[in-house]
Symmetry: C2
Subunit: 134 residues, 2 copies
DNA sequence: CCGCATCCGTTCGGATACTG
DNA sequence: CAGTATCCGAACGGATGCGG
């Protein structure tokens, strides 16, 4: 395997770049929120108030595949943002809820949503004007 | 064309889902921020304080390809978050700066970063514990 | 009921080369 | 200097089928 074209150079550049990103700890969290489904799941759990079954979350979010939902919930659990409780009933029961850390994050996300709701018309207007010019 | 396998069903589901998303206007903005480079560019412009040349931004962000940088700047310009000023000198000069709307958003993003910086250790700790259990 | 594994189309994003 | 255009590998994300 004498060919080490893209993969190698990529790896090198990645290390370099990751060290840059690592210096900015908050990027890890931003990257989490960057996920399309994370905010939706977070808000679903937050709006509901109490723990939700897996299928409840799926119904609430309503466009997510179970692959993405499971993946998202796992990631959130891993980061300590949601808790996962398995009750060994006959068909197993699994409940998800926000942890205190998750609720703390939800507050910040809600601020973001509030900003978005308050400024979305300006953004859409700017977008229209920009597109009109071509 | 009797075959309308994935493409068709996909299209149908997408319409359904998009109407769900459309009801939540703030998603548009969240999706913008979801972009990996948007927050970095936003912060670069914000930290610098005044207008920056294209190459200055590139140097500051330091891991972005020119393709992504241009694409990101265009998107931000389109949304009215940054202004793009072309000065027709001999080698053309282009300056980018935050608009008032962009600065307004930056404030919210900074809140998010502050939360992240304040809680990243909890997240990393949770992650380690989770990984330790396997 | 909850979730994992596989397959596969779509999209993202970097490298490179070229223009004004 | 500040882009644009093309190519291509890598990663995302949905559909389906199986397992506990």
């Amino acid at each position: 395997m004498g060919t080490m074209t893209a993969a190698e150079r990529r790896a090198h550049a990645k290390v370099e770049f990751d060290s840059y990103l690592a210096s900015c700890a908050s990027r890890h969290v931003l990257d989490r929120l960057a996920d399309k489904w994370v905010t939706l799941v977070l808000c679903a759990l937050g709006d509901h108030g109490s723990a939700m079954r897996y299928s409840e979350v799926a119904r609430q979010v309503a466009g997510v595949s179970q692959k993405m939902l499971t993946q998202t919930l796992r990631a959130l659990e891993r980061d300590g943002l949601v808790s996962r409780t398995v009750t060994p009933t006959v068909p197993v029961t699994v409940d998800y809820a926000l942890t205190p850390l998750g609720e703390s994050l939800l507050e910040v996300v809600r601020r973001l949503k509030r900003w978005a709701d308050g400024h979305v018309h300006q953004i859409l207007a700017a977008r229209d004007e920009f597109d009109a010019r071509g």
